[in-house]
């Protein structure tokens, strides 16, 4: 990472931490959900760079959420960090298994197959009475290394947990993007034949990306489950996946930070539109997406890069 990037990332993190102490509760809970969803978007960006669009991230998102609810209920685990880890890992496990199938498909077939898999989970959950059917399950309030906060305190504690998890994910994923396996995303998108001839296995590279994006989506789902205190089958419905793709287009695949900025922008626009124009909020979101595609085809993240270049251009 360039120094200026590190400083920018560091100050963004610091600003987010300070915000946790000063902002009103409703904003904190909005940001908690937005940053947790940002993890799912980050996972989509990992695949997007290799030219793959998944319309089924809700599968892993829902897995992560249900894992938290069930492990809390049956296993008696209440520690938030442990629950989030287990939620992420169970989604990554699912991604590893379905990855053997998905890694063989590209483009629209990949998108639709991933959508189909998430709808199978939706169907199973709706049909299973012991998992709460369409009502879903409640998630017991988590503890933090023995500390058991309530109400506002819980809200703030979860916010900080989300911040820590997101910062860790952002650091690890930007290291991954700089690694050979991560940087080969664009070559894989451009010319798979050449990548194979250079001695790399394309299907293994893609399988790795699937597991990483499953892990991120599951972690996001686990955090959201803790924040809302409830999970239901809609977490796996295709519109949920569609929303994540929507945010990814809004954010752009240019940088790791874009995932979180894009997600925060989306949640803010949605909550604003929902209160101001209750009947028209979907139309407003649609217009935002349209404007993004028309005027910022590289997403909101490209605004940051433009600032960056502006600065570089001025330097002697």
């Amino acid at each position: 990472m360039v120094w200026s990037d590190r400083i920018a990332a560091g100050s963004a993190f610091l600003a987010a931490v300070i915000a946790g102490f000063v902002l009103p509760d409703w904003m904190i809970s909005l940001a908690t959900i937005a940053f947790a969803n940002g993890l799912v978007v980050l996972g989509l960006i990992v695949m997007w760079r290799a030219g793959l669009v998944s319309f089924g991230q809700a599968l892993y998102y829902c897995m992560g959420g249900y894992a938290v609810a069930l492990i809390g209920r049956w296993g008696g685990v209440t520690d938030a960090l442990l629950l989030v880890l287990l939620g992420g890992l169970s989604a990554a496990g699912v991604a590893f298994v379905v990855g053997f199938l998905l890694a063989r498909y590209r483009e629209i077939f990949f998108a639709m197959l991933s959508l189909a898999l998430s709808m199978i989970l939706y169907g199973l959950l709706v049909k299973t009475e012991s998992l709460g059917s369409t009502d879903g399950l409640n998630v017991t309030a988590p503890t933090f290394l023995g500390y058991a906060p309530h109400q506002e305190e819980l809200l703030v504690a979860l916010y900080f947990l989300v911040l820590v998890v997101c910062a860790t994910a952002a650091l690890l994923i930007s290291a991954y993007f700089r690694s050979l396996a991560g940087a080969l995303a664009i070559p894989v998108r451009d010319n798979e034949l050449r990548v194979e001839f250079m001695g790399m296995s394309v299907s293994r590279l893609i399988h790795t990306k699937l597991v990483i994006s499953g892990l991120l989506a599951g972690t996001g789902g686990a955090l959201v489950a803790l924040a809302i205190g409830h999970v239901d089958p809609n977490m796996s419905y295709w519109t949920t996946s569609g929303e994540f793709v929507f945010i990814t287009i809004l954010a752009g695949a240019g940088s790791v930070g874009a995932a979180f900025i894009g997600s925060l922008a989306f949640e803010s626009v949605r909550s604003f539109a929902f209160t101001m124009l209750p009947q028209l909020w979907q139309m407003l979101l649609g217009s935002v997406l349209l404007l993004t595609i028309l005027f910022l085809p590289q997403g909101l993240g490209s605004l940051i890069q433009r600032l960056h270049w502006g600065r570089k251009a001025k330097a002697p």
């Binding site: 991954y176 700089r178 690694s179 050979l180 396996a181 991560g182 940087a183 080969l184 664009i186 070559p187 998108r189 451009d190 010319n191 034949l193 050449r194 194979e196 001839f197 250079m198 001695g199 790399m200 296995s201 293994r204 590279l205 790795t208």
Partner: protein
């Protein structure tokens, strides 16, 4: 000339009823530069595809440095030290020239394990140095920061071959390195390629349609016709072979404007 680096015995490939290659037996010593000629559809690319593991031979064996590599997947064969370039340059259009080369250099140096690929940075100091060196060697350093999609044909070819040379292969197979290049430019392009490959002490096999280039650069020539080798020897001997003249080189020489003046 010492022990063979590549030795191919009774190699054959059948597509349905068509024999794209049959009964090819060739042995190539270390550091020889071998030219391959033959009309369109004679089986030259098929021959290369079998050695690099892109196609599985129907019969016969391939030994590289004494080891049997018949039917191994192309990834593994690349790892053992055989690399290739393509009839149509295979590069990554949305990366810059430098990024293309750096990717090839990084793959060439990375340990061949899954963890190795996740832990190796793309731009390690060594792979950046290797990429810069190869750009200089192939004289494409001035194009360093151009997107590969926007390159002229000759530069694409040089980049493709430069990428094949990253990771120091010991045998390099070039499929028509000068295809799509104008007659005037062919010779100088080939000169750049060959001096780069010779400086790396690579054994080279290249496919070429232009007999002047063959005479200028090959130490030995294999003539392919209908899937098999009909002549094998020094350029002078092979090109003088009456079967080669009637089946392969004859019409080509008459076509080539420059060559016609000499005949």
């Amino acid at each position: 000339m010492n022990s063979p680096i590549l030795s191919v015995r009774n190699l054959g490939k059948r597509f349905g009823l068509l024999f794209a290659a049959r009964d090819i037996t060739v042995s190539i010593p270390v550091q020889q530069t071998v030219g391959v000629i033959g009309a369109n559809g004679a089986g030259k690319t098929t021959f290369i595809n079998m050695i690099t593991g892109h196609l599985r031979p129907t019969n016969g064996t391939i030994h590289f440095e004494g080891r049997d590599i018949t039917g191994l997947p192309c990834r593994q064969i690349k790892g053992m030290g055989i690399s290739r370039s393509f009839q149509v340059a295979q590069i990554f259009p949305s990366l810059t020239v430098f990024e293309n080369m750096c990717t090839a250099a990084a793959i060439g140096r990375a340990p061949h394990t899954f963890i190795g690929h996740v832990c190796t940075p793309l731009r390690s100091r060594e792979s950046v140095v290797e990429a810069e060196t190869l750009l200089e060697l192939f004289q494409i350093a001035p194009y360093r920061d151009r997107l590969a999609a926007t390159l002229p044909q000759g530069i694409r070819k040089l980049l493709d071959i430069g990428m094949a040379l990253a990771g120091s292969p010991r045998l390099l197979l070039l499929d028509e390195p000068t295809s799509g290049i104008s007659i005037e430019e062919k010779f100088s392009l080939m000169q750049v390629i060959m001096s780069a490959l010779n400086s790396r002490k690579c054994t080279v096999l290249f496919v070429e349609h232009d007999m002047d280039i063959i005479e200028g650069f090959a130490e030995r020539v294999l003539a392919f016709y209908d899937g098999t080798v009909i002549a094998d020897g020094t350029p002078a001997a092979t090109l003088a072979d009456p079967r080669v003249q009637t089946l392969i080189s004859g019409p080509k020489v008459r076509c080539a404007v420059g060559a016609a003046a000499h005949v």
